[in-house]
């Protein structure tokens, strides 16, 4: 009975990233965001690791992993490669998407650059279609201040429906708040409720038809609406991933 389909599936993906939770007190946290928004800096500050940081996009080519503690929980932090979107145009985008999608992180922290919020928000909105458990971390507030840009963090939280934390990671400002927000979401003290985007009627109609068909096929937390959207925009690969999962289901039943 130990091998349920869910654990098997989860294990397969976790194996890719070599992440095994030692005990239920450990939480899996993914760090996503556009390139060069300071993900690696935040990663280093939280975990005390010395992942090389630098002011250029594409610095993190592999997933870095580290640990930190807050209150009674231990957190496994995974630094994902920076991407502009989750449409699988490149290896980085695919890796980031697969981890958020199949890696089942307890919370995904999305790091955005306060100086170019609009472009960063595209990725945020895409991630929020996959998972509800997300926190927005608005980094580089000092740069924004230098450029005389003000960001209304409270309003942003209301607009998106998820917790928003402002940080200046290089000066270690706001990181305590970020850690606490991660903790609160992980223990379900805060339950983010992202506002979903409403698409043009033509797409919404298709979604209404597709979602009831897809829902019974999905056994884990992946959002059926998101999968339906991917089917509509012709992402063949995501369907392959899901059929890999159903293969897993069969194997588990036999085992």
């Amino acid at each position: 009975m130990g091998l349920t389909c869910k654990s098997c599936k989860r294990k397969a993906i976790l194996d890719i990233y070599n992440i095994v939770k030692a005990n239920p007190n450990q939480m899996l946290v993914a760090l996503a965001g556009n390139p060069n928004t300071g993900k690696s800096t935040i990663f280093n500050e939280l975990t005390g690791l010395k992942q090389h940081t630098g002011n250029w996009p594409g610095k993190t080519v592999t997933n870095a992993r580290g640990y930190f503690k807050n209150k009674d929980k231990e957190f496994i932090l995974v630094d994902l490669p920076g991407t502009y979107s989750l449409f699988p145009n490149s290896v980085e985008e695919e890796v980031a998407r697969d981890f958020i999608c199949f890696g089942n992180p307890d919370v995904t922290v999305i790091v955005v650059d306060a100086t170019c919020l609009e472009r960063n928000l595209n990725l945020v909105l895409q991630i929020l279609e996959i998972t509800d458990n997300a926190i927005l971390c608005v980094n580089l507030l000092d740069e924004a201040k230098r450029k005389k840009i003000q960001v209304d963090l409270d309003r942003l939280s209301v607009e998106l429906g998820i917790p928003v934390v402002g940080t200046i990671a290089r000066d270690k400002k706001g990181l305590k708040n970020l850690k606490d927000a991660i903790y609160d979401v992980c223990v379900k003290k805060i339950i983010p409720q992202p506002k979903k985007i409403t698409y043009p009627k033509e797409i919404e109609d298709e979604l209404q038809k597709l979602i009831p068909m897809i829902t019974p096929l999905i056994t884990n937390k992946i959002n059926p609406r998101w999968i339906a959207l991917r089917m509509l925009d012709g992402d063949i690969k995501i369907l392959e991933r899901i059929s890999q999962n159903s293969y897993c289901k069969g194997a588990c039943n036999h085992g």
């Binding site: 390139p35 609009e118 945020v124 960001v151 209304d152 942003l156 925009d233 012709g234």
Partner: protein, 450 residues
């Protein structure tokens, strides 16, 4: 027909989806972000225009490089000498202790004259330049200048049939070729990634910079420590680096026309904003992560190498030391490319880490010469001249160092990244052939002229 319709439809759907996302992002941005009107904001754009324009981009790049090298060369001289003095006085003390305990002379030879002395040379020749060069380099990285360099070089790489991002991986190679090879992962196309991996070691890594700097100083001469001299030396180093870039482009071009055919894929390179550098962190990071790491590796390799050199120089077979035997054996080949047997041997012994090539050459000469103590680059110059060095020798050592096979760490990384012994071998053979060929050409030109 049905397939065609579906693909068409999903394209339209994707357009709808993306448009909705953008629209929503724009709405949110309008609601939460407010700008104070300020003309100063545009200063960054103006700086970017100047740094990346076709007209001024390259000259500024060269000037910045020149300034860093000049600073490194001019600044490293005095601390280098100081370090050597201190460390050699320790050597005397250590020797006294050995004499005191009546230790056998071979033990003293291996430990002090072999290992300790080589380590001292590695430290005093390498530490000061690295302590100046690395923070400067990290500063440029932190400021956001490196991607601008990549932007400037992008067109050249495209013309060579390589990927524009190769300029970034090349820039990483200046730090460490192994790191450069790993960074090639940012290139998606396997063909272009291979080109980038194969050519990465044509830019000098941190381990080879000190060699290049020391040899150019010897070549130009240190009779007077004038500013002019340091400028000439840094000018020479820059010419070598440019040559390295030219060779990178040429080899990329040849590769993409022959065994790695294809057209370059397009990509977008984002220029990151200029950010205020964090001086404290730069110094700490560059000293601990880079300087001490590179130095530690060099010393770790230098210690056994020093012992080996001492043994080779002191064990004799038929009146001549083994070192001499090997050097004599390599001489015909070495002389044909304007080097000598000792130098070629040093490059092979330096395979684990390029940093120790110069110290090995040095120790080899010392062990066969009666010269006891060397305190300055000027004396080093005398030692080399007495071993038959000419300007051609200096030039060819620099060329060989710049172009030859990558170090063991880099090779191992290439093996891991390409998962192929064939390409690992290629990354050893291609640079070696290029290095031998170019050294042979300069040698031939020299013998025609003089």
């Amino acid at each position: 027909m049905v397939d065609y319709c579906q693909i068409n439809k999903s394209d339209i759907y994707r357009d709808y989806i993306v448009t909705s996302l953008y629209k929503r992002a724009n709405e949110i941005e309008k609601a939460v972000v407010s700008y104070s009107k300020d003309k100063k904001v545009n200063i960054d754009d103006i700086i970017d225009l100047i740094l990346t324009s076709k007209l001024t981009g390259f000259p500024i790049m060269l000037l910045i490089l020149a300034f860093i090298f000049w600073l490194t060369i001019a600044g490293a001289n005095i601390p280098s000498k100081l370090l050597a003095n201190i460390l050699f006085s320790i050597e005397e003390k250590l020797s006294d202790i050995f004499i005191c305990f009546n230790a056998p002379s071979w033990l003293h030879g291996i430990l002090i004259l072999g290992m300790f002395r080589t380590a001292v040379w590695v430290i005093s020749v390498m530490l000061p330049p690295m302590a100046i060069f690395f923070p400067c380099f990290t500063l440029l990285e932190d400021l956001g200048y490196l991607p601008r360099v990549a932007f400037n070089l992008d067109r050249l790489f495209k013309k060579s049939g390589a990927h524009g991002k190769q300029s970034l991986t090349m820039a990483m190679g200046f730090g460490c070729n192994a790191a450069g090879v790993i960074s090639c992962r940012i290139i998606d196309s396997p063909r272009e990634r291979l080109i980038a991996i194969l050519t990465n070691n044509f830019v000098p890594c941190n381990g080879r910079f000190p060699t290049l700097i020391a040899i150019s100083t010897i070549l130009i001469g240190t009779a007077s420590h004038s500013f002019l001299n340091s400028f000439l030396v840094s000018g020479l180093v820059i010419i070598l680096i440019l040559l390295g870039i030219v060779v990178t482009l040429l080899v990329s071009l040849i590769a993409s026309k022959t065994f790695l055919k294809g057209t370059p894929s397009t990509f977008s390179l984002e220029l990151p904003p200029f950010r205020k550098p964090q001086i404290g962190r730069i110094i700490i990071r560059s000293i601990f992560d880079r300087t001490l790491f590179v130095l530690g590796r060099a010393v770790a390799v230098a210690l056994p190498a020093g012992a080996v050199i001492w043994l080779l120089a002191n064990i004799t077979i038929g009146d001549i030391s083994i070192l001499k035997h090997i050097a004599n054996f390599l001489d015909p080949f070495a002389l044909a490319i304007g080097l000598d047997g000792v130098i070629v041997l040093a490059f092979f012994l330096g395979l684990p880490a390029n940093e120790i090539v110069l110290p090995i050459i040095f120790m080899s000469y010392l062990s066969t010469t009666t010269m006891i103590e060397i305190e300055s680059i000027e004396q080093m110059r005398q030692l080399f001249i007495s071993n038959g060095w000419t300007s051609l020798t200096c030039l060819n050592i620099m060329l060989f160092s710049l172009l030859h096979f990558p170090c063991a760490t880099t090779l191992w990384t290439i093996k891991k990244e390409t998962q192929s012994i064939k390409w690992t071998l290629a990354s050893f053979i291609i640079p070696t052939v290029v290095a031998i060929l170019i050294c042979f050409i300069t040698k031939s030109i020299f013998s025609l002229l003089f």
